[in-house]
Amino acid sequence: MTINPRLYPLLATIGIFIAAYIVCWIQFPYMLSTRVAGNLLTDNAYLGIVAVGMTLVILSGGIDLSVGSVIAFSGVFIAVLLRETGLHPLVVFVLLLGVTTAFGAAMGGVIHVLGMPAFIVTLAGMFLARGASYMLTIDSVPIQHPFYELLKDAYWLMPGKGRLTLIGIVMLLSVAVGAVVAHRTRFGASVFALGGGERTARLMGVRVGATTVGIYAFSGFMAGVSGIVFSIYTGSGYPLATVGTELTAIAAVVIGGTLLTGGAGYVLGTLFGVLTMGLIQTYIVFDGSLSSWWTKIVIGILLLLFILLQRGLVRATAVRA
């Protein structure tokens, strides 16, 4: 049974992640505890969710720079609404997801109708969402609601005191949903087709407009979910939160083996991309000796190392095949 070459980047990602984990474990035996594993899921939940949306966008050959701001907006929106009105959080969630999905859809619409590059439209979207959260409040607003306490404390204590939290599970679910949407639906096929080339996709019968709107709506929806998760994670809304998260998400997607030019990749790879980013973070914290500037440099070096390894591995297997 030969392995399909399109799987190579995914396998390389998973392989390198496991190898990296082993290296960390040798250096800090405690890394293998369920606590660290649980933390890895929980701490990166919001990133994983938003990266799933980003994966679809990138698969279609686009990019969504607005997600970081949308997460911040979501937190502020929830916090302010809960503070100002007596609405139940679930109602607020529904409202929020409506808003972010519509926001994404609107960006998709602008991209399609005006034929403008996604980079710029979503950049404007990024300004807009961040600006909108400023207009809601410039303060950081705590969320105090019994339902939120419930959500925060929803976890399953794994053996070894590690916590598998609700939001970690939400992330895993999102990855599963994203994978099904991308790889098992006609919409997903259209996304890949767009990534292969818009003109060709059009000639093959893809409804380019509807698909584009759908993609960015999906990304907006995921950013909304991520915002909810983030608000549970921090228990507050803060307009300055998650600055630059879009770039982290893009990096995670690319590390996960998805081509930035679109048309090739796996949602599952994104999960490992996110976990890898988290692993790098954890490793640096465990080490604890790096100064602020070395932290930045080392993150960059590890990122580069990872990408080079991945490329090398893919190339080596491709040649042998």
Binding site: F28, Y30, S33, R35, V36, N39, T42, D43, N44, Y46, L47, Y134, I138, D139, S140, V141, P142, K152, D153, F230, Y233, T234, G235, S236, G237, Y238, P239, L240, A241, T242, V243, G244, G278, Q281, T282, I284, V285, F286, G288, S289, L290, S291, S292, W293, T295, K296
Partner: protein
């Protein structure tokens, strides 16, 4: 003892100094300091604290990037019986979730600055421009509030323009230039900057516009970084309110007491917000600070 320190980032010279001093203090006391730089992001700080908890450190120092959103991670630390000390900024979580907080009162800083200005101008008319910190950050909000508290009710003092300079020199300079255009310079009587860096940028803008900072326009700011003392020595700046970067000293003192016999310190160890003016021998202050890693 091992102590984890979750620092916000390295966005300003002041913070770099705080990091340096914390390391120094730890070294002097033989404490093994695990340092983590969060690059201005709360999510990184939360993740770092959880990693510290997972590693089982003996205490955690936290310089929170924002006041809200720490409840669950502090609870987690508490469950693991790891004391947490907050540095230089407050959180709005319940007090029993942390051991103590070391810091200054940001609102108070603004009040000191405002009070100085009010005292200085007396009952002259004074049109004030304000350089705010990063929109939405707690120092920006609190220092604005404090200043307004101090000048409240004084009809001769009026804040005519207020814009964010993002706590940076470039921002301070650029915004000050536009203030000078918009208010045609000589009508501005004083500048209140949320930090010294912006004030230093603004001083350049004022000089380049052909005016004399410190004379034509009074300048008061907060932080007391070395460079502002130099400006004060030159007569370019008038006053600054100190925010000491040595938060770790008192924090370690409290921790050591707690470790040795479980003494619970007070919930808030306030550092002083000393006001420095041109009369306080700024050059000496400059010399004293310039090697602290600002």
């Amino acid at each position: 003892q091992t102590v984890g320190f979750s620092q916000i980032g390295s966005e300003s010279g002041w913070r770099a100094a705080e990091t340096t001093l914390t390391r120094q203090q730890a070294e002097e006391r033989g404490i093994d300091l695990r340092f983590s730089d969060a690059q201005q992001r709360q999510e990184n700080q939360i993740a770092a604290i959880r990693s510290f908890v997972a590693q089982g450190v003996d205490a955690i120092l936290l310089a929170p990037v924002v006041a809200t959103g720490w409840d669950s991670v502090l609870e987690e630390a508490q469950e693991a019986e790891i004391p947490v000390v907050l540095l230089d900024r407050q959180v709005d979580s319940s007090e029993d979730l942390y051991l103590t907080a070391v810091g200054s009162d940001l609102v108070h800083e603004g009040e000191v600055a405002g009070q100085w200005l009010a005292d200085t101008v007396g009952d002259q008319e004074c049109r004030i421009v304000e350089l705010q910190g990063t929109t939405g950050s707690s120092p920006a909000i609190d220092r604005a509030t404090g200043f307004r508290n101090a000048i409240e009710g004084m009809d001769n003092l009026e804040i005519v323009r207020s814009q964010t300079g993002d706590f940076t020199r470039t921002g301070g300079k650029e915004v000050m230039e536009s203030f000078l255009q918009a208010e045609s310079g000589n009508e501005i009587c004083a500048l209140y900057a949320h930090n010294d860096d912006m004030a230093l940028g603004a001083i350049q803008a004022i000089t380049e516009a052909g005016m004399d900072p410190g004379e034509d326009i009074l300048i008061v700011s907060i932080d007391a970084v070395p460079d502002i003392f130099q400006a004060m020595a030159n007569g370019d700046a008038n006053a600054t309110v100190e925010l000491t970067p040595n938060m770790a000293g008192p924090a370690f003192d409290a921790l050591e007491a707690y470790w040795s016999d479980g003494t619970e310190p007070e919930k808030f160890i306030q550092t002083e917000s000393t006001l420095y003016t041109q009369d306080d021998d700024p050059m000496a202050e400059y010399e004293a600070r310039k090697d602290l890693g600002y």
